[in-house]
């Protein structure tokens, strides 16, 4: 059976991307010639230890920095600057605008981008706030919410825009372990409902295996692609199968490191 065209053309196409940035006294190469494709409805995970440039890569897809080499395309158009077609969810809790209520925070991009009229935006926003179970807090200001609730608002805000791709930069890294697991479950439940495309950055192997359907492994200094693997299908989510994949990924990512320590 022929799949329709739009499933073949990647939503995000990263071709030979080298990213460099300047600190006060160094020119740092964050990633070197990274390639990957994100297809529609992918839960694409960028996984690697700190220093592998995964966050930098996500920022480049977000349009916050230009690659020094290679190109990034979103639905065939080259990414040149940030825009509401790629909504970011950051790790920091302060990503919500403190002078706006939860509802206003979710509505704001809908209205400023000109995508919705005020009334329609309100309805849309309320719908997504209800989806992340925060209906009671729609009129609360962010500083009164817990960290997990803030991240849920940020996710609602991102999804309300119905972006071509949702970019999540270690969104659960600053949460406590219990909240983190619950947020992962909620994210997957939302995905089951909406089937959005998401690129998810994490340094946690279990999180990558749980959240992603496809995982890109990056090695550090500078970030290079080590492997691109399929995650365990969620229907076959037995712990043993998962643990095996986690172990395999762990060996691939830290093999060099173990070699090094042996030489010492």
């Amino acid at each position: 059976m022929m799949a329709p065209d739009h499933t073949i053309t990647p939503v995000v196409e990263v071709r030979g991307v080298t990213l460099q940035y300047k600190t006060s006294d160094h020119l740092v190469t964050a990633t070197y010639r990274v390639d990957f494709n994100v297809l529609r409805s992918d839960r694409f995970v960028l996984l690697g230890p700190s220093g592998c440039g995964k966050s930098t890569l996500l920022k480049a897809i977000g349009g916050y920095m230009r690659p020094t080499e290679g190109s990034i395309h979103l639905n065939g158009r080259e990414v040149s600057r940030p825009g509401p077609d790629r909504m970011m969810v950051f790790q920091e809790f302060d990503q919500l605008l403190p002078w706006k209520t939860v509802l206003q925070n979710v509505m704001f991009p809908l209205v400023t981008s000109g995508k919705y009229e005020r009334a329609a935006a309100r309805e849309k926003a309320l719908g997504l706030i209800a989806k992340v179970n925060l209906a009671k807090f729609a009129d609360s200001y962010p500083h009164t919410l817990s960290g997990g609730m803030k991240q849920r608002v940020a996710i609602a805000r991102g999804m309300a825009m119905e972006p071509d791709v949702l970019l999540m930069d270690e969104p659960f890294a600053a949460l406590d372990a219990l909240t983190r697991v619950r947020m992962q479950d909620e994210l997957l439940a939302l995905w089951d409902e909406i089937k959005f495309t998401v690129i998810f950055v994490t340094h946690s192997i279990p999180e990558a295996v749980k959240v992603g359907n496809r995982i890109l492994l990056l090695t550090p200094h500078p970030g290079q692609v080590k492997a691109e693997v399929n995650s365990v299908p969620r229907s076959k989510g037995e712990t043993a199968v998962r643990a095996e994949l986690e172990h395999k990924i762990h060996t691939m990512l830290f093999a060099d490191e173990i070699e090094e320590t042996r030489h010492d």
């Binding site: 509401p84 302060d94 990503q95 403190p98 002078w99």
Partner: protein
């Protein structure tokens, strides 16, 4: 080294609430009154007023220190006859003109400063130079340039407001977190929209602090400037009212003038600005 001592485990049943004597007990009336901020401050004010009254009666020299009651009487008379009110309004009108002009120029300068590197250097150099310079020191020059009148007053007022507001706003803009900036860019905001919808609200605590300092500087500068010449086409504000009263050796009126300056200052700083704070940065949880 020995192993840790093995101890028996302990399980206890918490007592029911009735077995405690007092769990919650209302405070006494005195304790509750003493917890009221304003009541304690009122008490301090009353003590000061009583001391003042006693000392002035003992001194018995109205030319040096009039009694508290005489001052209040002068103040009440001044308000009843409308003199103090018209003078105060005149002062406030000039003040507002200077304040608004200063804030406007500060806004333009800061906007240029955050968008160009040269504008940034210009603003930093100018604030570094002029911020330590008391506005009142420019009054002699202002008198030569703009003559005796509102023009000179506004010039010194702008000077006193501009640098404080620009300095704070600029510092506020620069301290807006990288995440907020990225969020704003993510929404596709640029230029004026980015400044108005992200930078200004995010930097609002600093901006408000700047406005408060600017207001305080301006209010003090204005009264001082009025004391020097005061007339704006034959009329004067509160500073001039004090100066006139002193010339006529009407010392209770001098005190009444000072008291009204204090009252207006307190009102703006503790009511107007306090209200703005409560409505904005307190509600947003941005109070540092």
């Amino acid at each position: 080294m020995t192993d840790a001592v093995l101890r028996p485990e302990i399980y206890r049943e918490p007592m029911s609430q009735e077995t405690f004597g007092i769990v919650q007990k209302p405070l006494t009336l005195f304790e509750r009154l003493y917890n009221q901020n304003w009541l304690r401050k009122l008490f301090v004010l009353i003590v000061i007023a009583v001391c003042w009254e006693v000392y002035a009666r003992w001194l018995d020299n109205e030319l040096l220190v009039p009694t508290f009651s005489a001052t209040v009487r002068a103040l009440v008379n001044g308000i009843a006859s409308g003199v103090i009110l018209t003078r105060a309004l005149l002062s406030i009108k000039v003040l507002l003109m200077g304040f608004v002009t200063g804030v406007f120029i500060a806004a333009v300068l800061t906007f240029i400063a955050i968008n160009t590197r040269l504008g940034n250097d210009f603003l930093e150099t100018m604030t570094a130079m002029f911020n330590p310079l008391p506005a009142i020191a420019l009054l002699p020059l202002a008198l030569i340039w703009f003559g005796l009148g509102t023009g000179s007053l506004i010039f010194v007022l702008v000077h006193s407001v501009l640098w404080a507001v620009a300095l704070n706003t600029h510092a506020g803009f620069r301290s807006v977190s990288a995440t907020h900036r990225m969020v704003g860019q993510n929404y596709g905001l640029r230029g004026i929209g980015f400044v108005a919808k992200i930078l200004i609200p995010a930097a609002f605590p600093s901006i408000l602090a700047g406005l408060k300092i600017g207001w305080a500087f301006a209010w003090r500068t204005l009264i001082a400037a009025e004391l020097v010449f005061g007339t704006t086409s034959g009329q004067g504000g509160l500073g001039w009212y004090i100066f006139e009263a002193k010339n006529q050796l009407n010392i209770p009126e001098v005190f009444a003038g000072l008291l009204s300056i204090i009252l207006i200052g307190l009102f703006i700083e503790n009511v107007v600005f306090r209200l703005i704070e409560a409505r904005t940065i307190d509600r947003w949880g941005m109070q540092s």
